[in-house]
């Protein structure tokens, strides 16, 4: 038998460092600055020493006057420490979107819409000078191709700002909880120096150093947690003192891989996606030790079925797990274990309110009729299903195969997923032609994609709840629109770096070479073609919504929010 094997080196944690130009001298300098000077390097593991984290997961960046460091609404994956100089954080109300290098959301006028009859160009991917014109207040450029505010003194005069000085830390909450940046921060003066730490390094610093973890936990509890808990009905009746006690004892957990999209693409290629490989947050049959609140990301809710697990639903930000069991145990003498398992799909950030806190502080404030439905002996014996269980079991509503299909292919991420009923679709391509007509002759999707039974999910931007394409865009060109939260690309600030396209796990973003109005390819001064990212923008500038959906004569195509499986089930049974 042939025993020859293809041998490669095992990939290492720091094969690809954040900045290959980081020197030992840079690291020595950082180790003399707080908070690193206060860290005990002996607490770090041998595989991930403090020096290694600083050398490989951090980089020193210098910003020029007016250069935007973080932008409100962006999804960033790194935190910043001010090393030298000053930065200003813009307080509410923030800067107008045009100054952030983003596109103003606005519909075309009726005349502009009608004019498309004769103004649509004959060549593909034509851009007019007006489309590529930057707002006069911003300029794209610099070492990292950032966006610069042009008139800083005026901005300082017209907007409320706060100063950030050396030693200040920011961006860690958005980086760790994978939520949008809440403020815009820009450099003031040409000597602003920042240490940027990517999320992997930040995670390890938190793991091995209590000081930084306590610092970030404190900021998170102060700034975010109270607001978040107040939004959840069961915590609404707590007074300030009770809420403070709950916040003090609440725990945080981050599961899975922040860079799940890259891993997912690899797993798809290898064909090795499997629920068994997903990390378990809470396991069916275990004692319920806390209510799990999903803060960001997604988790799979499953129940044992035969020798495997049946997916009942997937939980997204704002969902909770385990409340029913804990409320039942609090009100009764028996102990009901977790009835389902909760597994990470990709990446999940959770908040856990321990069971004793729920029993002592939270549940006594909730009126009896607003508590979750208690378990009946018949339900525990598996002979009948309660209303709560039926509500939760989306798999039963849309069918178990479709449920597994949506989960395994991560389609739950879509808020406007293009779903086609293949038993109604006559393959006429009216949808593709309508898309092309509404986008100056350039269709922004393929009527082709993964299929299960009669349902096809077409290759089109799903306008994800967790838009990984937004992570890493150097100019913020790809961003959420201000009206419907759709993900759009500002053609004026897109530099064609392909980061968004590579990040997208669904391959819904295409890089195209653009043309002038006479059909000639646009080139830069090195005669290289200008490339831009293109994708579906849900016809955000047209009246009447997505042209693809409106143009389907047989009602076979629908843009669906995959977090609302009840409406999906209704559409399937229409």
């Amino acid at each position: 038998m042939d025993t020859a094997h293809f041998v490669i080196d095992k990939p290492e944690r720091w094969d690809s460092s954040f900045d290959p130009d980081m020197t030992e001298a840079d690291v020595n300098r950082l180790l003399e600055i707080r908070p690193f000077s206060e860290m005990n390097s002996g607490k770090f593991s041998k595989r991930t020493p403090l020096r290694g984290i600083l050398k490989n997961d951090a980089r020193i960046r210098r910003f020029k006057n007016g250069e935007i460091i973080v932008r409100a609404g962006d999804y960033g994956s790194s935190a910043f420490l001010v090393l030298a100089g000053n930065a200003r954080v813009v307080l509410d109300p923030g800067l107008p979107v045009s100054l952030l290098g983003q596109r103003k959301s606005q519909h075309k006028s009726l005349f502009q819409i009608v004019a498309q009859l004769w103004t649509n160009p004959r060549d593909p991917e034509v851009r007019t000078p007006a489309e590529l014109e930057q707002d006069t207040g911003v300029k794209v450029g610099g070492e990292f191709k950032g966006v610069f505010l042009q008139d800083v003194p005026r901005i300082l005069d017209e907007h409320l700002t706060a100063t950030m000085s050396p030693g200040d830390f920011f961006g860690e909450i958005a980086a760790l909880s994978r939520s949008a940046r809440t403020s815009t921060i820009f450099a003031v003066g040409d000597a602003t120096e920042m240490l940027e730490i990517r999320w992997q390094g930040l995670r390890d610093l938190l793991r091995f150093d209590d000081h930084l973890r306590h610092h970030i936990d404190r900021i998170y509890r102060e700034r975010t947690l109270a607001t978040h808990l107040r939004e959840i009905p069961i915590f609404r009746r707590l007074n300030d003192e009770q809420l403070k006690r709950v916040i003090e004892q609440t725990q945080f957990g981050t599961y899975g891989d922040y860079d799940w999209s890259g891993d997912y693409k690899r797993l798809v290629k290898e064909g090795t996606r499997s629920p068994e490989k997903e990390t378990i947050i809470a396991q069916e049959g275990d004692y319920p030790n806390g209510v799990v609140l999903i803060r960001s990301g997604f988790a799979r809710l499953s129940q044992k079925f035969g020798h495997g697990h049946r997916t009942l639903n997937y939980l997204s930000a704002g969902s909770q797990f385990g409340l029913r069991e804990i409320a039942h145990n609090w009100a009764h003498k028996d102990t009901v274990p977790f009835q389902h398992s909760l597994r990470v799909i990709g990446y999940t950030h959770v908040i856990v309110v321990p069971a004793p806190v729920m029993e002592e502080i939270v549940l006594p404030t909730v009126p009896r009729d607003q508590l979750p439905e208690f378990f009946t002996p018949a339900e525990l014996a598996g002979t009948e299903q309660s209303e709560s269980q039926q509500k939760l079991d989306a798999g039963a509503k849309i069918g178990p195969e479709l449920m597994e299909f949506l989960t395994e292919n991560r389609y739950f991420n879509g808020t406007s997923t293009m779903v086609i009923d293949m038993e109604r679709c006559t393959r006429c391509d009216d949808c593709v032609r309508a898309c092309a007509s509404a986008n100056e002759g350039n269709p922004r999707f393929l009527r082709h994609g993964q299929t299960t039974g009669r349902i096809m999910v077409a290759n089109s931007c799903m306008h994800c709840a967790d838009p990984v394409c937004l992570i890493g865009c150097p100019t913020g060109a790809i961003h959420r629109g201000q009206t419907g939260g759709e993900v759009v690309v500002n053609q004026a600030t897109c530099i064609g770096c392909s980061i968004c396209s590579n990040n997208c796990p669904y391959e819904a973003i295409r890089m195209v070479e653009i043309r002038e109005e006479d059909g000639a390819f646009m080139v830069d001064k090195d005669m290289k073609p200008i490339v831009k990212a293109t994708k579906c923008d849900l016809c955000s500038d047209q009246l009447g919504g997505p042209a693809c959906e409106r143009s389907c004569p047989h009602g076979a195509l629908k843009r669906m929010d995959m977090n609302n499986l009840d409406s999906f089930a209704k559409w399937l049974q229409r």
């Binding site: 819409i113 109604r424 393959r427 007509s437 509404a438 082709h448 042209a547 009602g555 049974q573 229409r574």
Partner: protein, 274 residues
């Protein structure tokens, strides 16, 4: 009651109400005026203009004119309603004169092609989905070429490997034409498996003249033949789903031109009629 049934009941009721209203109104007008044919003609022509407009509506999807699905429902039921108006207009008699016959034949062609088109649009997508192995229509020639090349390679290699030309000859005689282009169009449309079964039987019969190695090749050829048959099935149904509009739309425009000429002629020769 499902949404599908509810919608059909609503549109069906509207059609029935419109039919009853127009028949009763026509009966009253028929006694009171001699120009009822003018009225029914103009209503019929106006409706036909609206129905033709659906084709234009599809070309300007960016105009906020509502969903195409709703307009198609209107197109279908208003199209059926033109049947009622047409019968009233011609007073239920067979046309006389070649121009009237042309008009009637064009109208019947539009109506029949429309009804057939709707029937296949509703039924055939289910067939395509149930059969599986779907390939986008534009990619069918590419996949067909790949299958043809694979079959040719198998047949050619078998000559050198088995030192026998039996499979190669069979390929030249039967399979070459089968893989060269779309086959058995009508059989696929009418879901008849006879041509496929006949070819598979011939391949099966060939096995008695082959050695073990060659039989493995025919097994692979059988798989390719089944794939090609599936591809032809997709081609036949997808092509028909697209082609019926190429009959319905040109005939519609011919009908509209003839109807215009009909109006001009009617007014040109109607002097003195009150």
């Amino acid at each position: 009651m499902s949404g599908f049934v509810r919608r059909r009941l609503l549109w069906g009721s509207l059609l029935l109400a419109a039919t009853l209203a127009v028949i009763s109104a026509y009966a009253r007008w028929a006694g009171a005026t001699t120009r009822e044919a003018y009225l029914s003609g103009w209503v019929l022509f106006g409706l036909m203009v609206l129905l033709t407009g659906y084709n234009w509506f599809k070309k300007i999807p960016y105009l906020p004119l509502g969903r195409s699905e709703v307009w198609l429902q209107f197109h279908i039921y208003a199209g059926l309603f033109t049947g009622v108006l047409f019968l009233l207009h011609v007073r239920g008699r067979w046309p006389t004169g070649w121009f009237e016959i042309v008009l009637t034949v064009l109208y019947v062609l539009v109506m029949v092609s429309g009804v057939l088109g709707i029937l296949i649009s509703r039924g055939w997508p289910k067939r395509l989905t149930a059969r599986g192995g779907e390939v986008p229509f534009e990619r069918i020639p590419i996949v067909r070429r790949q299958l043809r090349e694979q079959a040719e390679a198998l047949a050619l290699n078998s000559v050198a490997e088995a030192r026998s030309a039996t499979i190669a000859e069979f390929h030249a005689r039967r399979l070459h034409a089968f893989f060269a282009g779309p086959q058995n169009f009508l059989s696929h449309v009418f879901e008849i498996r006879l041509p496929l079964n006949a070819l598979l039987n011939e391949l099966g019969d060939l096995n008695r003249f082959l050695n073990e190695q060659e039989r493995k090749v025919t097994a692979q050829l059988v798989t390719l033949v089944r794939q090609k048959d599936g591809l032809d099935y997709q081609h036949a149904l997808q092509l028909t789903l697209r082609l019926w509009l190429f009959i319905h739309i040109p005939v519609t425009y011919s009908l509209m031109l003839c109807a215009l000429a009909h109006i001009v002629l009617v007014y040109g020769f109607s002097a003195g009629v009150r």
